[in-house]
Amino acid sequence: MAPKPCALCTVNPAAIVRPKDRSALCKPCFFNVFETEIHHTITSTNLFARGERIAIGASGGKDSTVLASVLKTLNERYDYGVELILLSIDEGIKGYRDDSLETVKRNAKEYGMELTILGYKELYGWTMDQVVEQVGKKGNCTYCGVFRRQALDRGAAKLGVKHVVTGHNADDVAETVLMNLLRGDLPRLSRTTSIVTSTPSSVASSSPTDPASHTNIKRSKPLKYAYEKEIVLYALHKNLTYFSTECIYSPEAFRGSARALIKNLERVRPSAILDVVRSGEDMAKLCPGSDEGCGGACGSSTSAIPMAEEEEGGCGSSNGRNAGSEMANMDRQLAQNEAAVENELEVEITFHGRDGTQQKIKKQPKKIKGQAAASVPRKAVTKQVMGKCKKCGYLSSQEVCKACTLLEGLNKNRPKNHIEVGYDAEPENHVRDLAGQVKGLEVGSG
């Protein structure tokens, strides 16, 4: 029996069933379609500017490896005229990054791209090993997560690069949409659907004279519409070297739950991943106070919050909690809110949201003390006001960004030789943050 011919060229035998639409294609046609779609994403959103220097956030994993390979191909084929470099972050955990950094080094050589590896040590003055030594194993997830979120931007600033691209794919975006519906977070839902997640408009005004400022870094995800399965197929058939690690920890419960749903949806209807992304973009426009023109559907739209403050996919947000506690905590918290409303015994208390913004919510006081609150019983969707961290200049919803707050705590307790004078923070709050209890509730004085 002769194999089926490729649906596109009708000449070669089909070798790949496209996960996106189940069409049967030959290898060259699959490569071509996959690359052309990413080209389409880049051009239709005016993502790149000629002469731009762009850092690819490279972890050695499949997404960033495929991103680097495809961008190199497209830059040559369509003459984007951009300079691509690789930027890797080394957390400073002995032995941990060895394999993946080797992978990145090999890729750099293969693609002829400049590679910079920046360690937490250079960026923050601390390696993760040193952090663990200082704070113990319990709270260090918070540090690594917060540091990692800013690391690419800080690294790019060090290199004088204004644009960082990451390997987030359609599955990641779809997952984030469902996750934020499940935890009731519309602002985050609308932000994470944009393809570009910084404010180019503020670039010019914020600090044109300081090339090292990392508030000006544009973040984007050219693989936003690419299916994870197709990324894997592309890497496989192109024989790309990537380092695949399975995270040994379960992702936080909401993300895990959303991820499982996405996988099931994909089996029932392959277009569902793309359809969720589309819904997310459309819903972003319906969010109260939304000023997003098109949720990323056109090139001009960007989100006002740096992606580095978001949890954007991956397993990097479990904070050492067990997977169930996050949903259980939120459920309990919401139930208390409901009961409080029912009983009309409402007392205003101050709620420290997961993003650090303070919000007033109504709550019954007695049960709440000392209890970890779940993320988001928000009465109304609050619009966050972004300012700059007064220590490092990073875009932050608080006066001092999370990384600086954590660093301050670390530096304060650094044995003898190195003492930094802190600004007038309230240590109690930060200690709570350090302990990974960012979501603690306190009964306010008012």
Binding site: E37, S59, D63, I93, Y96, M128, V132, N140, C141, C144, R148, V177, L178, L181, L182, L186, Y225, E228, K229, V232, E246, C247, Y249, A253, S257, R259, L261, N264, L265, V268, R269, S271, A272, L274, D275, R278, S279, G280, E281, D282, M283, L286, P288, C298, G314, C315, S318, N319, G320, S325, M327, A328, D331, R332, Q333, L334, A335, N337, E338, V376
Partner: protein, 410 residues
């Protein structure tokens, strides 16, 4: 080691999770009304403190009467604007209740009957009148049972006016011809009867998800059309919190995020009648207990194909709606407040104000205010624009409906 979890490692594709992530370790069995009797019996009702509780509702042990009051109050609170004092004595307000013989619509029927009787006994008149409509969907093999159920309902609640419609009536009742244009053309298209049209349309669809989607969309349209032609100012949908949460996620998954505010909010709909969801604050599992405890006549009117549905979960016939209903069944058991929060959150989405002249989808009739019909012309669309122009002449379908009824592109 614990800190590894924050390193940015992506799951390899091989680690595809094929089942739901909600593991038994976070179950709280004591919150399930279904398992009420054993635990609740020992304690007194927390509200009246008089009788012993028969079940635990949102961690409150309640007796039978207090539980009924709890359910009734939640529903009636949603109908504030239909109180007697708001009624114009010269003009009876009429509302349409679509009755599917599921737990929710039957419970709502019962509660409304009680409410109208209460109004009558207190004031000598009622705030509104109810028309009941049942829509027969092809594939429900139990038409005989339906007739039986309808006559039982009339007997138990004789104050309402009842109508039974077949889904294909939608081709007869809808005023615009566009719906007919969606049916595949055959030799005798011109003379095809409504049942033939419906069968041709459904048979042309290639997936279970598409068939279920089109059937329920048509059913909504027929309900709306019937409401208008029978002089009802609004529709009282039976959807529970759980159902609305399911709808939120499944419509999101079907690419209808744009129309969510119109699909799950109380008030003015884009269809010219109001949509009301009196059961929106009651969980599905609570209504199941309610039906259990009320017993006859409510329980005699229930005909839900839930058991059959479950059996086919892993098969090719699974639909996106099935997937979401299975999912929220689990979430509701373990984290009921998260279910309510999904609905509350979606309720904050602001509907685009759509002028009557806004272009509408030929199938679901939702306004597509930016005129972005079809699956093309957005960031996730990788086709070139030539195709888009070719389509402009055919039926105009919103993104979600285009996924269910793909249009030939050339």
């Amino acid at each position: 080691m614990a800190w590894r979890c924050t390193l940015h490692l992506r799951n390899h594709l091989n680690a595809l999770i094929t089942h739901f992530h909600l593991q038994p370790r976070f179950t709280f069995h004591n919150k399930m009304p279904g398992k009420h009797v054993d635990q609740a019996l020992e304690q007194p009702c927390r509200r009246c403190k008089d009788v012993s509780a028969v079940l635990v509702v949102r961690s409150e042990p309640l007796c039978r009467e207090c539980f009924f009051k709890y359910v009734h109050t939640k529903a009636i609170k949603r109908l504030e604007s239909f109180r007697v004092r708001n009624a114009n004595p010269n003009h009876q307000r009429t509302l349409l209740l679509p009755l599917s013989f599921g737990v929710s619509s039957v419970s709502l029927l019962h509660i409304l009957d009680r409410q109208l009787k209460t109004q009558m006994s207190k004031t000598g008149r009622t705030g509104f009148a109810i028309h009941v409509v049942h829509i027969q969907i092809p594939g429900d093999e139990s038409i005989i049972t339906v007739d039986e159920l309808l006559s039982k309902a009339k007997e138990a609640y004789p104050d309402f006016k009842y109508t039974s419609l077949a889904l294909h009536d939608v081709f007869r009742l809808t005023s615009d011809a566009t719906l007919n244009d969606l049916c595949p053309k055959t030799n005798h298209s011109e003379t095809a009867s409504p049942p033939e049209k419906l069968a041709a349309l459904i048979n042309s669809l290639t997936s279970a998800t598409a068939r279920a989607d089109v059937l329920s969309t048509l059913s909504t349209r027929l309900t709306v059309e019937h409401a208008k032609t029978s002089g009802c100012e609004g529709i009282l949908w039976g959807d529970t919190t759980t159902k609305l949460a399911e709808k939120t996620l499944s419509e999101t998954a079907k690419g209808r995020g744009f129309s969510l505010p119109w699909q799950i909010s109380d008030g003015e709909s884009p269809h010219g009648v109001t949509f009301n969801y009196p059961m929106r604050d009651v969980l599905k599992k609570e209504l199941v207990s309610y039906v259990d405890l009320v017993g006859s006549p409510v329980s005699d009117l229930i005909c839900e194909p839930s058991a059959i549905r479950q059996a086919s979960m892993s098969s090719k016939n699974t639909t996106i709606d099935d997937l979401m209903s299975k999912y929220f069944e689990e979430v509701e058991t373990n984290f009921p407040s998260i279910v309510s929060n999904v609905v509350r959150t979606t309720g904050k989405l602001e509907a685009v104000s759509a002028p009557a002249s806004a272009p509408r989808c030929d199938l679901c009739s939702m306004p597509v205010s930016d005129g972005r019909f079809g699956i093309h012309g957005w960031g996730g669309d990788q086709q070139e624009s030539a195709e888009r122009i070719a389509i402009a002449s055919g039926p105009q379908l919103c993104y979600g409906c285009s996924r269910s009824i793909p249009q030939p592109s050339k």
